[in-house]
């Protein structure tokens, strides 16, 4: 899903496949109007919240809604900062330790706007993207509980 708002190109994908950070940045650089590019990559930890070795992480989502919800977060970021590109890729399905989960790339004429907007998007993805994580251990599985601080931090924006 993609769109351009006031010269800011926003592109969002929810997919099972892995992503390549370098090629995503190359696409943004090809537009030749950049000042700074900030990027954040979320990666599966090898130990879960219970300090046990994690076998896998399962990400369930709401097909049809997830990309729209992420796009709304990006539109909000575009309104707040002067950005010329936003790229978000969120993976779903079964992932393993070390696998990429999420990529947020923001480009702006000024570094602070790129940094801030990438952080803003990540904060909102945590509790506004309809995605649910389940941790699978050797002997049991458990749904990741949302953290109250993740919800509270949104009030700071």
């Amino acid at each position: 899903m993609h769109q351009t708002i006031e010269k800011c190109y926003i592109s969002v994908n929810v997919q099972k496949a892995d992503f390549d950070i370098n090629s995503e940045i190359k696409i943004i650089k090809s537009k030749k109007i950049i000042g700074g590019i900030a990027n954040f990559t979320g990666v599966v930890r090898n130990s879960g919240r219970k300090k046990e070795e994690l076998m896998s992480l399962e990400l369930e989502h709401y097909p049809g809604m997830t990309e729209k919800a992420i796009m709304l977060i990006c539109e909000d970021a575009q309104k707040r900062w002067n950005l010329n590109s936003i790229r978000v890729i969120h993976r779903v399905g079964r992932l393993f330790a070390g696998d990429n989960i999420v990529l947020v790339v923001t480009a702006s004429a000024h570094r602070k706007e790129a940094f801030k907007s990438a952080e803003f998007i990540m904060d909102f993805l945590k509790s506004r993207a309809p995605i649910w994580k389940k941790e699978h251990y050797r002997t049991h599985s458990s749904w990741v509980q949302s953290k109250e601080e993740d919800e509270l931090i949104l009030n700071d924006w």
Binding site: E60, Y62, M122, P130, W132, K133, W143, Q145, E151
Partner: protein, 82 residues
């Protein structure tokens, strides 16, 4: 109407979605209707504060919102994306 469930709510109900003839006009009434229909819904909706709702793929805060013209309603726990 299509009713969808995600995460542990889906596991408690036992299906990812179902097509239901709904008489209720609000989300709040729909939850009551489901609970009256089968005990499994009572267990799933026990802790209503931990359940989030989307009507036609938009998160709603007020359970008294109308679902008269809604195509789908989704129930799920707080999201854990990112």
């Amino acid at each position: 109407m299509k009713i969808l469930y995600f995460s542990w709510l889906r596991e408690k109900i036992g299906v990812p979605f179902e097509e239901v003839e709904v008489r209720s006009e609000t989300v709040s009434d729909l939850i009551k209707e489901l609970i009256n229909h089968d005990h499994k819904y009572q267990l799933a909706f026990e802790d209503i504060k931990s359940i989030r709702v989307a009507v036609d793929q938009k998160i709603i805060q007020d359970l008294n919102v109308s679902i008269k013209n809604a195509r789908e309603v989704a129930f799920f726990p707080p999201m854990t994306g990112g």
